[in-house]
């Protein structure tokens, strides 16, 4: 049980905290990054962390429930970018960002799903 919790913390660090840190760091070194990375990496990292967070919270639930929440997270990411277009939130709307961060949510959910599929990673499997 303890080992599973530790592993979940590690997965949370790698899939949530690390992308957020790297995304923030990309602002610092933005000028040295290729334009594609400089403009979209942080948004992708944010989307990835969001998808991973939701997927981790709902890991172990029925796949339909998990899928519903992941869809909500992806919609949240897409709506956030669209709100920039409407000038409701700060920032510049960019269709590439829209694709990048929405896709990143789905990719992260898939990655966490794959990890979650490995029974040894789940709390439930260790508790049995």
């Amino acid at each position: 049980m303890v080992r599973a919790v530790k592993k979940r913390v590690v997965v949370a660090f790698l899939t949530i905290a690390l992308p957020l840190v790297l995304g923030a760091a990309s602002y610092v070194v933005r000028a040295r990054l290729p334009l594609v990375l400089g403009g979209h990496f942080a948004d992708g990292a944010w989307g990835f962390a969001l998808g991973a967070f939701v997927a981790l919270v709902w890991m172990g639930e029925k796949s339909s429930v998990r899928a519903l929440w992941i869809a909500i997270a992806a919609t949240f990411a897409a709506v956030w970018e669209c709100l920039q277009y409407a000038h409701v939130v700060r920032g510049v709307f960019d269709p590439v960002d829209l694709v990048v961060q929405t896709s990143a949510v789905l990719v992260a959910a898939w990655v966490v799903g794959v990890i979650g599929g490995m029974k040894r990673w789940t709390l439930e499997s260790e508790a049995r």
């Binding site: 000028a31 979209h40 944010w46 969001l50 967070f53 919270v57 997270a73 700060r90 920032g91 510049v92």
Partner: protein, 272 residues
């Protein structure tokens, strides 16, 4: 964890991610609270240095274009017209600076601009990288033509807003430069002068090493430093990590013709 708790946690998480995104947009694209100064201006309304309002309170000066793309699609019709853009600067020398538009792919781009001597302090105040905190300053540029071998536009700086003129660096006795930026801006005039900068050591050969200054610079931010056989031990002790920069005094010897890279001779590693 039951579904209720998971739902609550997810909702909190979504709020957190929303705040995080809002925070990052604030850092990457809004203004700081520095005072605003405008240079003398060919354009109309905003010579308001004395009032010092917040940057966002100074209205945009009149300009024909607000993005490089708009100017580019007008082709030669854009020549002679003005463009207002938010910019950071790249390669900078005594009379020219490359300005990069602070925008995302598609709205970005760059152009080489000339500037007059009286604007040097303001040009220096334009951040040499996209600012992590605050927003890129506004610059009004008169488009003067197109680069010979590309479709990129070139122009001259007419007005710089949202920055205070950069103050002269405090120089230790016997030192002429403490930043690579100033060396780049002074160009060949810096030859023969003494620079003292925090730097770390990169590629090292028998008689020279590449020194990487730890401050920011518009343009090249390294120089080749030669050393004598009796300075070998000093060079070996010089940090190779950007996290442990050391004060190094270098005599600037020459600037390479095409690459503008500086060569210098090691004087000493200054003990702190």
């Amino acid at each position: 964890m039951d579904i209720g708790k998971r739902s609550a946690l997810t909702a909190i998480g979504l709020v957190g991610f929303g705040l995080l995104a809002a925070g990052s947009k604030t850092k990457s694209s809004t203004s700081t609270t520095t005072t605003t100064t405008t240079s003398t201006s060919v354009t109309t309304t905003t010579t308001t240095a004395s009032a010092k309002p917040a940057p966002e309170d100074v209205p945009d000066p009149t300009a024909d274009y607000k993005s490089l793309d708009d100017a580019k699609v007008d082709g030669t019709k854009a020549f002679g017209k003005t463009i207002l853009m938010r910019a950071w600067r790249g390669n900078t020398d005594a009379t020219t600076t490359t300005l990069f538009s602070c925008g995302k792919l598609g709205t970005g781009g760059f152009l080489t601009t000339t500037y007059s001597v009286d604007k040097r302090a303001l040009v220096k105040a334009i951040p040499p990288t996209i600012p992590f905190q605050g927003r890129c300053p506004r610059v009004v540029i008169k488009i003067t033509g197109k680069e010979t071998y590309s479709t990129d536009l070139k122009g001259s700086i007419e007005q710089i807003l949202d920055v205070t003129p950069a103050e002269a660096e405090k120089l230790p006795p016997g030192v002429d430069y403490v930043s690579m930026d100033d060396i780049n801006i002074d160009g060949k005039k810096a030859a023969g002068k003494i620079a003292q900068m925090k730097m770390y050591r990169g590629t090292t050969e028998e008689k020279k090493f590449t020194g990487y200054p730890c401050g920011k610079s518009g343009g090249l931010n390294f120089l080749y430093v030669t050393f004598t056989p009796d300075q070998k031990d000093t060079v070996k002790d010089l940090s190779q990590s950007p996290s442990a920069c050391q004060q190094v005094k270098v005599k600037l010897t020459s600037q390479q013709a095409y690459s503008s890279t500086w060569n210098g001779a090691l004087v000493e590693v200054v003990k702190e």
